[in-house]
């Protein structure tokens, strides 16, 4: 009797501990597998490749590497001698066309008064000449405006607020129209992109608060989910073979959850936190009341 009671107690104690372990194991699994958090998040920003609208030698670089600039600040100037000359030329053409037009107007007036002397054909000719001269004058004015615009565009301005980075531009460099030479990190667009496993997406809602921890930082930043990407590339398929679908015929036994970018905006950035595009972060999405998303069905330790 005592022996069987003793072995009953022994089995009971062991089973209780095992049951406790199952509960703890399930909780651990839920936290690490289901909670919407990821260590795979990055600080990102839009980078504007500032390119000149006109070609030429760089005459002056007005910014230093890693300098903060505001939208509209001049970044660098292109040698404008050629464009000044072009403007001068265009203005001369305007004057010339204006003189021609005025003469045509006077001629037409004269022919209009001499209605009984000149033939109708000559009067029409005078009117046509005047109209042609007027059109030529307008064309010349447009050319002058274009030359003026080109001259203005020799000053390259910052299109957004940001920080010039990796600047590698010296006076004397020749740059062609449209070739990006200055990288400007748009500081207004700084954000966090969390690459969440697709399995966790159903538990992330737009507007949820997010806790962000930058790698190596000791305190959390606060943010919000603003949007979730609408699509990622289908890696099993390429549609290049004669417009038909080309689906990979292998399908792996072990599969990895794909990552979907979730865009998170920072609510507040403390002054001592330096946000650099490309930094690694750990993010955890919370419930809208700020509590953890974890499923705490039968245990609530936190």
């Amino acid at each position: 009797m005592t022996v069987s009671f003793r072995s009953f107690v022994r089995v009971l104690v062991t089973l209780i501990v095992v049951a406790g372990a199952v509960v703890a194991g399930v909780e651990l699994w839920r936290h690490y597998m289901d909670d919407p958090w990821t260590r795979d998040a990055k600080v990102r920003a839009d980078v504007v490749g500032v390119a000149p609208d006109v070609s030429g030698f760089v005459s002056e670089v007005l910014v230093k590497d890693n300098q903060t600039v505001k939208a509209g600040d001049i970044l660098f100037r292109i040698d404008n001698a050629r464009y000044k000359i072009a403007l001068e030329q265009a203005e001369a053409t305007v004057d010339q066309k204006l003189a021609t037009h005025e003469q045509a107007v006077r001629d037409r007036d004269r022919y209009d008064k001499l209605t009984n002397v000149v033939s109708q054909q000559q009067a029409e000719q005078a009117r046509a000449t005047e109209a042609t001269a007027a059109a030529a004058y307008r064309e010349a004015v447009a050319s002058r405006d274009l030359a003026k615009l080109n001259l203005e565009r020799t000053e390259i301005k910052a299109p957004v607020n940001g920080v010039v980075t990796n600047l590698n531009l010296q006076p004397g460099d020749y740059i062609a129209q449209g070739s990006a030479k200055v990288a400007l990190v748009d500081t207004d667009s700084l954000r966090i992109e969390g690459y969440f496993e697709e399995t966790k997406l159903s538990r992330i809602n737009v507007g949820d608060p997010v806790r962000i921890r930058l790698m190596g930082q000791s305190h959390d930043l606060k943010g919000r989910v603003v949007s979730i990407a609408a699509g990622i590339v289908d890696r099993e398929r390429s549609d290049e073979a004669g417009l038909l679908a080309n689906v990979t015929p292998t399908f792996s036994w072990v599969r990895l959850a794909q990552r979907v970018p979730v865009r998170i905006v920072l609510d507040e950035v403390p002054a001592d936190v330096k946000l650099v595009a490309g930094l690694t972060a750990t993010v955890q999405v919370m419930n809208s009341d700020g509590s953890d998303k974890g499923v705490r069905s039968f245990l609530s330790w936190r």
Partner: protein
């Protein structure tokens, strides 16, 4: 917050560090239980030890936000 633990520039997931930490802890607890004579009330010692380790890991993980920075 569930973050990573920095070991001289190598960032390891907290769970890994906790798993390593739970191992010596479970040895200590096992010694303690053996000293108290609890094992005479245990039916299957190996099973009991594994369960003990998982429970310790769960406790460490669920309390980590208090003692980890």
């Amino acid at each position: 917050m569930t973050a990573e633990i920095d070991i001289y520039g190598v960032y390891v997931p907290t769970l890994l560090a906790l798993m390593v930490l739970a191992l010596p802890l479970s040895v200590v607890v096992r010694r303690l239980l053996a000293w108290c004579g609890v094992y005479s009330f245990v039916w299957h010692r190996g099973l009991f030890d594994v369960a003990l380790y998982v429970i310790l890991l769960g406790v460490l993980s669920s309390t980590s936000h208090w003692w980890l920075p």
